[in-house]
Structures are given as C-alpha cells and as structure tokens.
C-alpha cells in the first residue's frame, strides 16, 4: 500500500498566482504573490474610479458607460450596460464589503485599502441625487461636458450631442450620418495610386512569363515591381529583409525560383504581403495578376535550381507564419539544413526517398558513458564488429580429418615421383 503523504503539506490554489502551493499562510508574503495582488488591486481600483466618474458625472438616464467590471472579491460580473444600477449598488453593498475584507484577509492586503475598493454610501447618495435630478431634466446642460467627451473617446462613430463631433462629422467625413450605428466598410477603392503603373508593368512583364506577381490577396502600401530591379529592394522593405538579402540583378532568377520552390515560406511571405483585402477592384483588364485573383507564381510548381537550396535554407524560415532566425550554432544545424533540403526535393519528387538503412543509427552518446558521441558510437561499432567477426569465423571453419606426418611425407614423396615421371616421359 502506498504511504499517505504527510498531512501538514496541504495544497491550496491561489487565484492570483494561478497555481497550487503548500506554503499555507506564508504564501501571502511571497514576492510574486504580492506583486500579483498589487496588480489586481490596482487594475480594479482604476476600473472602479472610471465607473465612479462615469456614474457621477455622466448621464445615467442616457447611455450608461459600457464598462464591464468583474468583481474579483465576490466573483460577479458587473455589466454596467445591462444592469448599470446594479453595479453601483453592488459595489456599495455590505456583501461586497464583506467580500473585499475576506479577500484581503486571505491574500494579505492591508485593511486600509478597503475603502478604495468599494463605493461608499456618500458616493451612492450623490449618484442617486444626480439620477433623480436628471430624470427631471435640470442637469442636462452642465453635464454635457465630460460625459459626451467620454463617449466621444469610446464611441467615435456614433453621433452625439458633442459639438466637436458634430463639426468633425460635417466637415471631414461627409459620409457619416447622424445614425446610431455606422458600419465601417472596407476601402472600396485603393488609396495608393502606385497600383496603376504597377499593373501596367505587370502587363508588360507577364508576356515574358518572368514576372507574374499576382497574389490572391490585395496589397496596400507594397507596390510590387519586377524582381531584380533596384527599386524592388527599397520598396519591399520588411519583406525584402528575409527573402532578398542576397539579391542583386543577377539573382533575379534565383529569387523567383526561390519563392516558387517552397510553398511553406510563401505562406509566411504572403502574410507579410497581405495587408488588406481590396477585393480586386482595379479594373485594368489585366490578366492573371493580383487583382484578378490569380494564384501567386511562387505557389506554382515550376522548374527550380538546385543551387537555390542553400539560399533557401538559410534565407527562408522553416515554419509557417512567424519567421524565425535559428541559431546557426545550434546542435545539428548542418544536419538539419541538409535534411530539410532533402525533404523538399523528396516532396517535389526529384529525389526518391531513401529507404531507411537497417544499419543507420543516430549520432548517439551512450547513457552510462562519458565522452563525445563519436567515441561512444565507435565503441558500439567496434563491439558490433567483434560480434560479426566472431560469427564469421565460426561459419568459415571447416572440419578436416587428421593426417599424420608419415602420411603427409608419403604424400609429398609420391607427388615428387609423379612429377619426375612426367618430365621423363616428355623427354
């Protein structure tokens, strides 16, 4: 039967640190716990002060502040939008006060912070007065200062009584209307005028088949020019740092083939390129380009140069999405690069995948032995060879009958006489 653990070490879960511990009451003095406690209390205090300000100076009768407040002391979600009054009543209630005290007692905060974590009765009374007077409509003018400005910050698309917002809507954005809701539409036409000349450049280059730069995604702010030109590297910016760092006019072919070969980095490339989806709105009549939604050239399986393998392996990231610069001095870096290249070729069908050699073994260091991996590998191979040679010797031994010396001598003499006779006969 397994022994029971000692009863003194009881594990508790700390909500602030989000882990179990067996420190008991000592846990509240741990530095990390105190830091988490301070952070939690500070964030709650800031949200509470925003809520207090909104309730006191805003207009509760109209749109209430949209803050959702989670009360960590009582584990209640206070959604001020749906139950605005309930939030302030809860924060002023005795249950909340009790919850705060219990929380501070449990997690080690000082009791002097209790008042800063709740709404006092005075504030509640002020709010109630304010709401009553607002309902009668007397305080409309004076309260337009802070409340609407707050709303302006939080809700810029909705029209409100704020004068600045009105003027902004009228002067700068004629499309805005005084409606409660406004749906932001994506750009219907590109704002970057560089697309027009580029699309014509694509036209001219596409006939040669060397520059089909279409992507299924719209690009904003990343004009695409033919590979190999000096402009490309300036304009590509961040995109060029990973892909074209070894570029030059002579690498034009390399660049295009680099991107064509590997589908995986192309996805990361397209992530860089993709800024927004314009929906192909340029109506230039061009065929097979980014605006017509043609597939990008680097995703197509074309002929590729084996020379590009080292370039690709060091230039392009091995993972989709995030580009990662791997440490060149990491263990097995050379093996990894070589193997990655082999796998790419195997994927494309250029190389037949090598069937695993039954004698292949990894570069291994034995568990119980010290020294380098090569040494332990050599030791293993030696011991294996010994085994093999022993087994070979056993097989090659032939069992022969015993021949005595006289018989051997007699056999030698007989063979000599036979030779003499043969020579005499020839004469």
């Amino acid at each position: 039967m397994p022994e029971k653990p000692p009863p003194a070490a009881e594990f508790e879960y700390c909500e602030l640190c989000r882990h179990h511990h067996d420190h008991g009451r000592r846990h509240r003095y741990v530095t990390k716990h105190r830091r988490n406690l301070d952070a939690a209390l500070t964030s709650f205090r800031s949200k509470l002060s925003d809520l207090r300000r909104a309730f006191l100076h805003g207009s509760p009768s109209s749109q209430p502040p949209r803050a959702r407040l989670w009360c960590p002391f009582c584990s209640i979600d206070l959604d001020s939008r749906s139950a605005g009054k309930n939030a302030i009543y809860h924060l002023a209630s005795s249950e909340h006060l009790k919850g705060v005290k219990d929380f501070l007692r449990k997690h080690g905060g000082g009791m002097d912070q209790v008042d800063s974590l709740r709404i006092s009765e005075d504030v509640l009374a002020k709010w109630e007065k304010g709401s009553e007077s607002l309902s009668t409509g007397t305080k409309k003018g004076t309260e337009g200062l802070i409340g609407p400005c707050l709303k302006q910050i939080k809700d810029i698309q909705n029209e409100y009584t704020c004068e600045s917002l009105d003027s902004f809507a009228q002067n700068n954005i004629p499309s805005f209307s005084n409606t409660a809701s406004y749906v932001v539409m994506p750009l219907q036409s590109p704002t970057n005028g560089a697309y027009d000349p580029i699309s014509t450049a694509c036209h001219g280059a596409s006939s040669s088949g060397s520059a089909r730069y279409s992507t299924p995604y719209g690009t904003v702010g990343l004009p695409i020019t033919p590979w190999g030109s000096a402009e490309t590297h300036k304009q590509q910016g961040a995109l060029s740092t990973n892909l074209f760092h070894s570029s030059g006019p002579e690498t034009k072919g390399h660049q295009s083939t680099v991107l064509v070969n590997d589908a995986r980095p192309s996805i990361s490339c397209s992530n860089h390129v993709q800024q927004s989806h314009t929906g192909g709105n340029l109506s230039n009549g061009s065929k097979e380009n980014v605006h017509t939604g043609a597939p990008p050239p680097w995703l197509k399986a074309n002929e590729h140069d084996p020379k590009n393998l080292p370039l690709r392996s060091c230039a392009l990231p091995s993972r989709k999405g995030k580009s990662r610069i791997l440490n060149p001095k990491r263990v097995g870096a050379a093996w990894a690069e070589r193997r990655r290249a082999e796998m790419e070729l195997e994927k494309q069908g250029e190389i037949v995948p090598a069937t695993s050699d039954s004698s292949w073994l990894p570069n291994f260091g034995s568990v119980w032995q010290s020294g380098t991996r090569k040494e332990s590998r050599k030791d293993f191979e030696k011991s294996h060879k010994l085994h093999d040679t022993k087994s070979n010797h056993d097989l090659s031994l032939e069992i022969k009958p015993y021949i005595s010396k006289r018989m051997r001598v007699g056999a030698d003499k007989a063979s000599d006489k036979a030779e003499e006779l043969g020579s005499h006969l020839q004469q």
Partner: protein
C-alpha cells in the same frame, strides 16, 4: 497499447524516420511497454504535456518488445523501464536531471 494521442513506434524504420525528420525540435522518445504501470503513468504525463510543448518538442512512444527496436535498446544501453531519450536534429541530447 500506448497513449491515444501519442504515436507508438514499433519498427526501426519508424524510429529512424522520427529521428531524421524531426528538425529543429526536440524529439522525446519514451522506451517502454504498454503493460507496465510506470510506463502508463509516464505516458499519461507525456500525453497531457505534449500539447503545451508542441511548439518546440515532439513526443513519441517506442515499444521495447518489438524485435526491430532491440538494436536501439542495445545502442542506448537501456536497462531501466521506462527510459526517455531526447534528440535534437538527430543528435542525442544527454540529460542531467536532479
């Protein structure tokens, strides 16, 4: 019978493929038996943590009872069951624990 989430390798070719094709990620190979209680316990822990470490590590189980795996058992000089062996880019990583 290994974990439902972790692959179980029974052939030398499978182990070779796992070691050779896991690039720039740590490969954790658990050598053990599915009927062993300690192995099952370890398998459970590995299965539950495999998702958390999936960005930098791959975990697989190797059945020690398979004939083809004996060469690895000799090579690694495995005597304790279960045994966990770590690889990175087809290089064995010696681990000092504790």
């Amino acid at each position: 019978m290994g974990s439902a989430l972790l692959p179980t390798l029974r052939l030398k070719s499978e182990v070779d493929t796992a070691i050779r094709d896991t690039l720039d990620k740590v490969l954790v190979l658990r050598f053990g038996r599915g009927i062993d209680a300690a192995c099952l316990h370890l398998d459970d822990i590995l299965a539950r943590s495999s998702w958390d470490i999936s960005k930098f590590a791959t975990v697989a189980l190797v059945d020690m009872d398979s004939e083809e795996i004996q060469v690895y058992i000799d090579y690694f000089d495995i005597t304790l069951v279960p045994a966990t062996i770590f690889f990175f880019n087809a290089h064995h990583m010696k681990m000092d624990s504790g």
